[in-house]
């Protein structure tokens, strides 16, 4: 309970503080134009952006799932002993093959 109260309290405090410190922004049209060193854009900047490392993001999801298993694993690690280490080693080895494959396919290179 205290955890939730502290998190909500700090968030509310931060929002109030940030709101109080930042005045309302206001501008004329030429002032609002995005900065391009004097140049002009053809379109709005918001777009269906080409996020290059999208395949890296998929590999990341695999590792994030693995992380979920690691939390309980870390707690019982010492009592389970060498068996736990071997099991996690096997799991990580399988995932590492994914990294090697991805590397060969160039997914870390903004393709």
């Amino acid at each position: 309970m205290q955890t939730v109260i502290v998190i909500l309290g700090w968030t509310a405090l931060a929002v109030l503080l940030a709101r109080a410190m930042q005045p309302v922004a206001d501008s004329t049209a030429p002032q609002a134009m995005p900065f391009l060193g004097g140049g002009t854009p053809d379109t709005h900047a918001w777009q269906r952006y080409h996020f290059r490392p999208y395949s890296m993001a998929l590999l990341f999801v695999a590792f994030e799932m693995e992380m979920m298993f690691m939390y309980p694993w870390a707690v019982v690690f010492v009592s389970e002993g060498i068996k736990a280490l071997a099991e996690m080693g096997m799991f990580l080895a399988i995932l590492s093959v994914g990294i090697l494959y991805g590397w060969r396919e160039g997914i870390f290179r903004w393709q």
Binding site: T3, L17, Q22, R52, M56, A74
Partner: protein
């Protein structure tokens, strides 16, 4: 006791942020920003623009709330303290992204997506080193992790941990070699359209996060409040201050490579290193 701890957290965050401003020699420039107009961009996302610095500040405050100020004494004394900090780290990526997304301008947008690409793989070494620190403690609680360091600090027992975590600290505080959100080649990226008080508040939040990350690192690797003679909070402050100075020093000294190259380095060098770190820490813990 809770009231006292709340005050301690607030005082640490405030004092630490002032110290961070001094480390960056940014007192007068930050004050000057408060005298300037806050410019509106073309058709921006006003809500996210105003709230992004607030989230950043809130995450810094929540992060420091899980840090024990004395052995057995933390404001959030959770059995899963590491998981709470881990979620703060993940939400920082989101916050920086929203900061770059909101002005509807090209350079901030490029910075936002770049930071997302680098921020995600940085999470992985971070969680590996934190989990490695949880192994000898047999718990995910930061109080237990401090307790497990009574004989020897993790920085000695797990030598790769602190260096790997420094990379995370640089990325979480948008600094030097890991500052892919606000790089010079995109005219300070996500901050390129910030002016006046809006710019100042974002910079203050970024410096507050430096306090938070350093306090976590001090707790996990340097024994947090443990130390002879002086009381616990003083030891925590000293260790946090030293790590802040180290982070700023590295940030000013190490060059930043291009984002796609850093992405390869993170996956191909840093991630295997953190596997190795987990293996070494696991063998020692047994």
């Amino acid at each position: 006791m809770t009231a006292l701890l709340t005050l301690a957290v607030l005082a640490t965050l405030l004092g630490g942020t002032l110290f961070a401003v001094a480390l960056d020699r940014a007192y007068l420039p930050l004050l000057a920003l408060f005298t300037r107009q806050r410019v509106e961009t073309e058709a921006p996302d006003r809500l996210n623009r105003d709230l992004a610095p607030a989230w950043y500040l809130a995450l810094a405050a929540i992060g420091i709330a899980v840090v024990p100020f004395a052995p057995d004494l933390a404001l959030i004394d959770s059995p899963v303290g590491i998981v709470i900090w881990g979620s703060c780290e993940a939400l920082i990526v989101l916050t920086v992204f929203l900061h770059g997304w909101s002005p509807n301008a090209p350079f901030p947008l490029i910075g936002a997506y770049r930071y997302a690409a680098i921020g995600l793989p940085v999470m992985l070494p971070s969680m590996f080193v934190l989990i490695a620190a949880a192994l000898p403690a047999e718990s995910l609680s930061l109080v237990a992790i401090v307790d497990s360091q009574r004989e020897v600090w993790n920085v000695i027992r797990q030598p790769l941990g602190l260096p790997l975590f420094m990379v995370v600290a640089l990325a979480m505080t948008l600094r030097g070699p890991m500052d892919y959100a606000d790089a010079a080649d995109i005219a300070t990226g996500t901050s390129a359209e910030d002016s006046g008080a809006g710019r100042a508040v974002w910079q203050i939040a970024r410096l507050a996060m430096l306090v938070s990350v350093s306090a976590i690192a001090a707790t996990v690797f340097l024994g947090g409040p443990l130390g002879p003679v002086l009381p616990g909070p003083v030891w925590l402050w000293l260790k946090t201050g030293a790590l802040m100075a180290l982070t700023v020093w590295i940030g000013n000294r190490v060059a930043r490579t291009t984002p796609s190259r850093m992405l390869t380095i993170l996956w191909v060098v840093l991630l295997p290193l953190s596997f190795l770190h987990l293996l070494i820490s696991g063998l020692i813990a047994l």
